[in-house]
Structure formats: structure tokens, C-alpha cells
Symmetry: D2
């Protein structure tokens, strides 16, 4: 079978490294080009030594440029691992050239321009394209090959929406009084020279940040509201913990039913056949260590009869299921590859 | 001035090591004896090499035994760093011999035998002594030299009660709908050979545990209820994160007032003059790294106008302000030493 | 193509987990059985949650027993991830039943019974089988499908022998005055409940151990002596560092030639075409982070004109190239699979 | 007793933080001023939250400027925690004004201008002052209050010279064939925004760097040569390991005598009465965890009868005994305070 030819633009960050690692050994695709503004002309493995056994010295970053990339006729699909605000201009050119675009940035995650402005403090860079963008969690949303612009969920939202959307759709839990605490590994802050992300500042450190309106909150509330059919406002508190990878999320919400039976019934309905969701028995907790390096999300729920609350917990690898792995999973489904191709 | 002669019993755990480290260089006390069942006869520094510059080879663990210790006439005060259930028998003998006892275990933290049974799954080991025990957070409770049996708060409770008790006493926050997420470093699990606490299992791991009724919940609810003057039930969710030390606590509770002014007013009233409590400006987050190795608790609050919730955060070193440091701070106050003697 | 049916015995340690992870997604093999004394009857993913997306709940540990395993007709190859001394008895039975055995223990690494006794402090458990055992570093030794008993190198030896054997064979470096410092991640100590391997004891700790005669020294000296054609004695100093994985090795040895040209010429002759060895330019250092999770070894050399020494450095993932990955690589070559099958 | 008034210039790095932490609670000194170019006017605890219980908000960085500082009449002693090349100009002005200067930089560590040029790639900034500078390891060199310019040893040199100088002075070990491997925690690289020191790059990483001529080598060889009375050239290989603090050093050198008796005899002669040196029994290894946060160096030696080598190991906290603590220890001795004042 002819391989799908794909490119990665903005490949110099942590999500970009993971994309290259996964795509470089994917049985159904050929990674035809990777682009970077800062690393143009440099061998990939010089900047990313982890990939030395996957790529040769000849495989180099090419120039990041929307127009140039749009003219690369033999590339059918581009992954955008770019900052929000920047991704949109690439998407525009690539879409115009008939390419499929899988965007890992926030540019097409939100349906509302106002919400984008409110949370990202800037006018949306491509309002006309907003309708084209499809927000996809592959286990929860339909994907078709005719989709041309995919918005991949953020890392925190993946850990939160995967357990909650099914429950919201089935009206099995309260739509108010929801409190979400998430702890992220340091790679979530990106690959950059910043004292805040230095080893000696993060080691032995646990702290909260981004209160009260982290950008991902916009996406969380929009998707929960769609799922529930009513406006949902949640308390979302992101934190940092000294790990390289992983997000652990703890969700407390007033229960509608006693016990966890209803929750598990719904989760099993949605996820029993899904390869990358593991529904753990009540009382068994997810753990970021055990999803690290995988495209899996693990979820679990406990009911507290004293408080009448449900306590839902989940764990994902922020760079894989929370970013690059999920993007590849979406591609796999769009193009009829095995859902887990390149992801085991 | 003649130094106070003190002893530590059960000195082989992490809290015991910290006690010895602090007391070994305390200007007003002489650490006259340390006891351990398992390490009897062994030089302290052989088991605890960190203390090599504080103690000589001659300083050895003596036998842990209530009767023997009660007869050590020249020791006026004993710290008990023993498991719950075991501490009580030592307390009984030592009190009978007229000693002052500062207990770091859970045996005298609760006022109710039923609650003890419910949370510790065992009959209370010394119901008759319960009334003697005084639960002391030194910034919030009166201490007098006539107290003979002090119950030191647990590590999680310290991080939770210090920000909350003043607000409860002043009825400034809701008494219901409280959600508390705490993340602890691994030393909280104790010094033991257990695969669950091994490096390769905890490194890169974030997870929840002890749901829904961690033992410390009993103490948290009892103290909050006393402070508020009404029964308080909270959702408390402990977690583990890969640090050696530290607890980071995030408390979400429905606000009674808009904004944080009232909260800060109360905190300043209680804490402005307190050496070991730092009230951070709203928006500035505590961080376990910055309390590590100190007897300080840092607290802060944010008001979220979208959810009408207060988000209170705190950080402590679980082994110091959450255990040994606080115990020494109590001793300092009881005996008229400087509050920070040995604790800087 | 019909898949090769393989089993793993002693699958409950870290090497066993890695073997199952690799074999569970290997395109050419079927992992037909995994055995464990302590975990018999338990689902694999209950003990090893990382593998939840690879195995179903039905895949359970079966009994570890040489005779039983020998009778499993449909399994052609067994990996032994057992302690030294124990592996030999399994090897005997399995070989008698005509199986191929790839042994990760030390039982068949040494050619000399005396050396085994000296370093392992026990009589060799199966002297008659010693001649059958072939010690294989796949890039340096010939493998044939007729081999029935393979001894996989230890983790430290892999990091040391891969850069040194080519140089010894070509007599390009001194055979005396060799000093080897290696630092290992904590997983090298095995998966066990031991205070020495607990998080709080290993975190922030760097130390040496096993001086002066670590067991792996026996294998290092034997193989270097074979390569050089003369008896070689080296100074080998193992250390621990707070990482989960990885070995970093620094070798200092008197140079025979000025500069590194000769070293690189030889390395390129041996390794230029090898997928899992990356010869880095002089001055560029290997790093355990960049081999973590891979089957690669990275090596480099610097010549110091002041001391006339060569400084050779290498990095491997102790659990993969240093154990399970190398074992699978050997199988791949024996059975004509792609050398990197299952290993990318 | 009137307290000694001291200042710290260049207080914004890790050594500066430690100096302020130690001096802020030192019983015999008053920390009268701290200076920083980048943080002028900022409260110290805003930049260094760890010190919140030691300093009030009013304690602010003042301008770093040699002339201004020289005019601060009430400050008698200045610690310089500045980069090499910069420290010299401060030293010049402060010395001219009659101040005592304890310099933590490299500017006055070397006796030879050529060596400075060779290793620091710049002309020495103050050749005329070189003779004034006294290189002091407090356990090994005489200190007098008339000394005005003290050069504190570097972190690696401290870990290396303390075990070796006594042996060199007594001609008890070989002066050639010395191989030194040191592993440092990340704080050794300084407090800066640099991708190389970011959490995700250092976590799980072990690597070598600075080969073959790390700057500290100049100081190591100069001091060893002085001690031995002959020119000594050593192989020194620095590495990084994922800890915040600590240096672990492993020294291999050809033995002159069988066994370790002679080594221990000499060490005991030099160090038996020293508070901050712990000579461990042969076979017991130092560990960075157990010197972390202390001003202690732990040393040990093993003799390998197979190789006729001595293996000497040591551990220090790079920021305390390797920098700030040692500087304060020197001050303590110069001014007749207790050697351990402020350092327990």
C-alpha cells in the first residue's frame, strides 16, 4: 500500500519531537518533511538526539513557511505543532492548496470568537475558517475523511473531557458545582529556556498557577456545555509537579445517583471497545507513571456517601494522548489505518 | 540558663530524624536520649548519616520501653514519634512519672472515641487520657506550661486547618461544599521498605489514594467543626507526587463575600505577627520548594467571580511544619524559649 | 508468516516487564506464556498497569516450573528473566525439550567455573551446560539459529564492552591502567521492597557501591581478555544516581596513539552499519536521557593531550539495550526477523 | 558582643541565596546589605521565597557598584558571589577602602597568570592583586585576621582536594596516573534560563561535559602540585546528574602502600578533630543525600588488591561546603566565632 505522505510544521517543541518519533516509525506514513523556523537546515537528530536510531543525519528541518509548504505537492497532510495565533495562517494556505490539516494549537478549538478573545487576549486570527475546524476527541466525535481541518484537544481538556463528556451527554451528573484539580508534568510548559522551568526551580516543587482562568478552561467549558446541552461553568485549577510527563486530574462533582454503577454503565457503553481508554474499577486509581509513553487515558470513579460527591480521576501522558499521539490516532481513523498504528 | 532535657522515642522514622536534627542543635535543650526498638544500641549516625556533624559515634539509640523511659529522672519532656495505638501506652507511663509529653501520633488528636474507631479501625488505646490531650496548632490555640500531653496535628491537617480555621471562626466562608485536594511528597508514607514507595514506582508518578476516608479527614473535620461551631463535612482527596518533602493543598469553597478582602483581613488579624505563617498576596501561589526545610506555612487566596468560589492554597514541609518542627515550636512556646529557637 | 511462539519466565521484574512490553507488540512473535512464581494466576496488567493497552485482563501469569514449561509444545523459545543460580535449572529442562533459550541472567555469561565461584560466591549450578552457552553482543558476535542457549550480557558490561571490544581486538588501546566509572539508574537494583531503593533514600543521592568486585566485573574482564588476547584487569566502579533508567559509563585508558582518529576508524568499521550503535563525534557526549526507552547505545571518545589518555563515554538504557531489548535483538537476528522488529 | 557587619554582592545566584540564608540567621553577624545588578530595589524575599521567614519585605537588594559599596562605612566584610572577571574590580575597590573580602569567584584562586589565561580564556583582571589573594580550605590552610582577600575554592576542587591534599603532602600516594570522575547536581550550572538546565532536559539525564579542560582543573592541579611539591597532572571528568545539589567524586590512583591503613592514618591526623570532615570507614561510601544541606564533606577509601589502586570517594553539598558554607566557615575562623556558627 502506498504510504501517506505527511509533514510536521513547528517541529522543534516537545509535541513536535513526539510527532516525529511516532511518525518516523509509523507503518502507513512517510514523514516527508519537518519544518522549523529556528532550526532550518539542521539535522533533526542534532537537535533531538533521542531520535538517532529513527532518522539519519540527512533528515533535516526545512524552512517553516506557509506558502512554500502549500506548494509541496507530494505531501497530503500537515500536522501543525505551532503556537496559537501562528497556526491559523499555515492552516489557511495549506487548506487552500487542498491539504488536510491536523492542528495541535488552540486556533480552531473554540466555536466562539468572543471566547477566543476573552481567553487568548487577541482577535481570532482566521474567523472565516472557524466553521471548517472540527474539534475531535477520537473516541467521542465522528471523524470523516472529508474533514480537512482538525482541532486536536489540549492536554488538560483531554484528561477532563474524556471522563466527563459521556456523563454529561447522558445527564448522569450535576452540571454545576464541579471542581477540577489537575497536576501537570513540566513538559506541559513547552521546550524553552525559562528560569521557571529550570531543573532547580521545578525539582521538589508543587504549586498552582494560571488562576482563575487558564486558557484551556475555555475549551473545557465549551465542550462540556455542548455535551450537556446547557451552559456549564467549572472551577479548574492547574498545578505543576516535578515529572517530565503526565497529567493527573481529580474531578469532584455532586452526584445525581448514589454509587458509581450509573457512571460505570455509561463509561462502559462509550469505552468498552476503545483501545486507548481503560476504565479502572472503582477504588483503583489511575497513575501517570502507568500511562507514560502511551496513548492511553485511564479513568476511575469513587462515590463518597458522606458528601454525596462523585470523585473522578484520570491520567494521561500530556505529550501523547494529550497531544501528538491523539493527533496521530485521528489521522489513523481518518485514513483507515489501524487505530493503534504507530501508537503501541 | 540550664537546658531543658528532652528525649525522643520512636526516633527511627522520618519525623524522628527531623526531631533529632532540630533538637541536636537547639540552643535551649539537651537531647538526652533517643529510643528505638529496632535500632537499640546502634549509633544514631550509623542509621542517619545526615546527622554526622551533629552527633558523635557515642550517641546511641537506647531501648524503647515505657517503664524504662519513665524512670529516666533527668528527662523532663518526651517527644513521641511512634505509630498511633503505640504512642498511648508510652504517654500513660510518662505522664504518670510527671513528664511532659508531646505526641506526634494520632492517639490524642481526636476528641471522640467513636471517630477514632471509625477512622483508625481500632478501639482507642487510652480513653481515660483523651481529656488530657490538647490538640495544638501553635498559632491558633493557647498553650500553657501546665499542659502535660500535647497532640500535634497531622501533616495534611496542618496545611488545611491553618488557612481555614480563622475563616471558620469568623464565619467568613461557607461551611458546606468544601473540596480539598492535597498532594504530598513520598516521605509522608514513612520510612519503610515497601515496593509502593520505591524510587522506580514513585518517580514520574502522580496518583490519588486513600479515598474516600483518609485517616486525617477525621481530624480535619473535627477541628473545622469546632472552629465553625457546626458540623462540617468536607471532601478530602490526598495524592502522591514525586518529591521527597512537601504538601501542597488546594481548597475550593463557595464564597460568602465577593473578592478576597475579607479573607485577607482575617488572615492578617490572626497571622500578621506570626513568624511561621506567610500570607501571600492574592495571585501569588505558595510552592512546596519554598517551604522545604522550613517550619513555615505559606497561604494564599484567589476569588473566582465566575464560579463565586474562593480558591485557597497552602504549602508546608510535611516533616517540619507538618510534624517535627511544629512539635518543637510548641515546646518553645510552652517553655518560654524563642518561638523560632532551633527552627531557623 | 507464522509467528514464532515465545514465553517469558520470571516475568515479574523490571526486565520481565520490558520483555512483555516489547514482545506484546512484536510483529513476528506471539507471546504465548509468561510465568511467575509469586504472581501465578494474576492478570499481567494488574501487576503491570503500564501494559493495559497491550494485554487484556485474560492474559495471566502461569506457574513458573521448569518441567511444566518444557512440556509446552507450542512454545519454541523461552526468555529467562530469572535470578542467577535459578536460571540454570530452567535452561536444562527447556534445552532437553528442544527449546531455544535466551537467558538474561548471569548463569551462562562466564566461561570459567572458578570465576563464577569467585564472583557469585556459589558453585556454578550447571557446569555441564557451560559450553553450550554463547555470550552474545549482537553487533560483535556471530549468531546462528543452531545456537540453543544464549547468554545476554549484563547492563554495565553492555555499556563498557561495546566501545571497548573493537579497540581491544584491534590492539588500538592499552590493555592496562583502565579505569571505568559507571552510574546506573535505580531500576538496575531490581523491583523489590528495600529501604535502600526507596524514593526518599535514592532521590538527591549519588553514591558508589559494590567496591571493589562487583559481579559484572567478572564478565567485563573475561570478554575484554578474549578480545585482546591477553589477560586484562580493570578498575570498575559502579554508582547510583536518581534516575529510573540508564547507565552512563566513563572509561579512561592510556592511549596508544595520539588523537581519536584511530578509535573512530575502528568504531566506524565495526558500527557504521549498525542500527543500534551511534558513534558520536568527538566532543559530543552521550546522555542517558537520549537513549532512554531505546535499544541504542551511544558512544564517543576524546583524547586528552595533557594526560595522553583516551576518555571514552557511553550511554544505554539498562533495561532495554542493557537487558530486554538486546535479548529481543538477538532473537530477531537468530530467526531472520528485521533486526529492529519490535524495537523502534 | 557587637555583631560583625557584612554584605553580599552578586546575591542573586544560588550561592548568593545560600549565603543570605546562612548569614541571615548567623548569631555573630548582621547582614547589612545585599547587592544585585538585576534585582536592585526588589525585596529579597520576592525573588527568593525560601527566605520569607528570615527576612522582611523591607530587606531589599541595593545597587551593585564597587565604588558605592566601598563607601558603606559600616560594613566590614564583603562576600563576592560574582562571576569571574567581575569579582576582581569589586575586590580592588573594597580592599582599597580597607574592607575584608571573601571572594567565591575564581579570580584569586590561581597563583599563575598564564594558567588563568589558559583556562579562563581572558587576561587576568587584576594581576597586581594576585599576591594578596589567599586560597583557603579552612581545614588545610592557615587563616589569619590580617588576611584581607580570601579566595574560596570551587565546588569540584573542594570535593577533590580535601581527601587528596593530606595524602600529597605526606607523599603517601602516587603523583601520576590519577583519574577523577565527579558528578554534580544541576545547581552547579548556576541560576539561569537555559534550555540545557531545564527540567525536562536534565531529568533522567546523566552525561559528561567540559572535556578535557574544565576550568576547575586549573585550581585542582595547582593545589595538588603545591601539596606534593612537584607538578601534578590529573584526568578530571565532570558530569551532570539529576539532583539539585551535591557533588560525588571518585578518585582512582595507583597506591604506594598496600591497604588503606596509611591513608586513614593521615586523614585522621588531619581531620580527626575537624567538625566538617567525616572520615568514613573503608567500605562505607559517602552519599550526596547525606551531606545535602550541610557544610560537611564525607570521605572514604578502598584499596583494590587486584589493581593496586586506591579508590577514594567524597561527597559535598556544592552550594554549602562547595561554596557559601565554606566561605562562612572561613569568616568564622578569621573573626574568632565558633567554626560552626550559623552552619548547623
Amino acid at each position: 500500500m502506498k504510504k501517506l505522505r505527511v509533514g510536521v510544521t513547528g517541529a522543534s517543541g516537545y509535541a513536535g519531537i513526539e510527532l516525529m518519533r511516532i511518525l518516523g516509525r509509523h507503518p502507513n506514513v512517510e514523514l516527508a518533511a519537518v519544518t522549523s523556523r529556528s532550526l532550518e537546515g539542521k539535522p533533526v537528530i542534532e537537535d533531538m538526539p533521542l531520535l538517532r536510531h529513527i532518522f539519519s543525519d540527512d533528515f533535516k528541518f526545512v524552512k517553516s513557511d506557509p506558502a512554500t509548504q502549500a506548494k509541496m505537492d507530494d505531501i497530503d497532510l500537515w500536522f501543525l505543532a505551532l503556537p496559537h495565533g501562528v497556526a491559523a495562517e499555515y492552516a489557511r494556505e495549506l487548506l487552500a492548496a487542498g491539504k488536510t490539516v491536523i492542528d495541535l494549537s488552540a486556533d480552531f478549538r473554540l466555536g466562539s470568537l468572543e471566547r477566543y478573545l476573552e481567553f487568548y487576549k487577541a482577535e481570532h486570527p482566521a474567523p472565516d475558517l472557524l466553521k471548517l475546524g472540527k474539534y475531535i476527541i477520537p473516541e467521542l466525535f465522528d471523524i470523516s475523511k472529508s474533514d480537512k481541518l482538525i482541532a486536536c484537544p489540549g492536554c488538560y481538556p483531554t484528561s477532563i473531557l474524556m471522563p466527563l463528556i459521556p456523563l454529561m451527554r447522558e445527564h448522569a451528573v450535576s452540571a454545576s458545582g464541579i471542581v477540577i484539580d489537575s497536576y501537570s508534568g513540566v513538559s506541559g510548559g513547552g521546550r524553552k529556556a525559562d528560569l521557571m522551568y529550570s531543573y532547580c526551580v521545578r525539582n521538589e516543587s508543587m504549586t498552582a498557577y494560571g488562576l482563575p482562568k487558564h486558557r484551556h478552561l475555555s475549551e473545557i467549558e465549551e465542550q462540556l456545555s455542548i455535551a450537556a446541552g446547557s451552559d456549564i461553568v467549572v472551577q479548574f485549577i492547574p498545578h505543576l509537579s516535578p515529572t517530565t510527563r503526565g497529567i493527573f486530574t481529580t474531578i469532584v462533582l455532586p452526584a445525581k445517583f448514589e454509587g458509581v454503577e450509573k457512571v460505570y454503565e455509561i463509561w462502559n457503553k462509550y469505552y468498552a471497545s476503545k483501545k486507548f481508554v481503560k476504565v479502572l474499577p472503582s477504588g483503583k486509581q489511575p497513575d501517570t507513571l502507568y500511562v507514560s509513553g502511551t496513548n492511553r487515558v485511564d479513568i476511575s470513579a469513587v462515590y463518597d456517601s458522606r458528601t454525596k460527591n462523585l470523585i473522578i480521576t484520570s491520567a494521561v501522558d500530556n505529550l501523547i494522548k494529550g497531544a501528538s499521539g491523539q493527533a496521530v490516532q485521528i489521522m489513523n481513523l481518518m485514513f483507515g489505518f489501524g487505530e493503534d498504528a504507530g501508537l503501541l
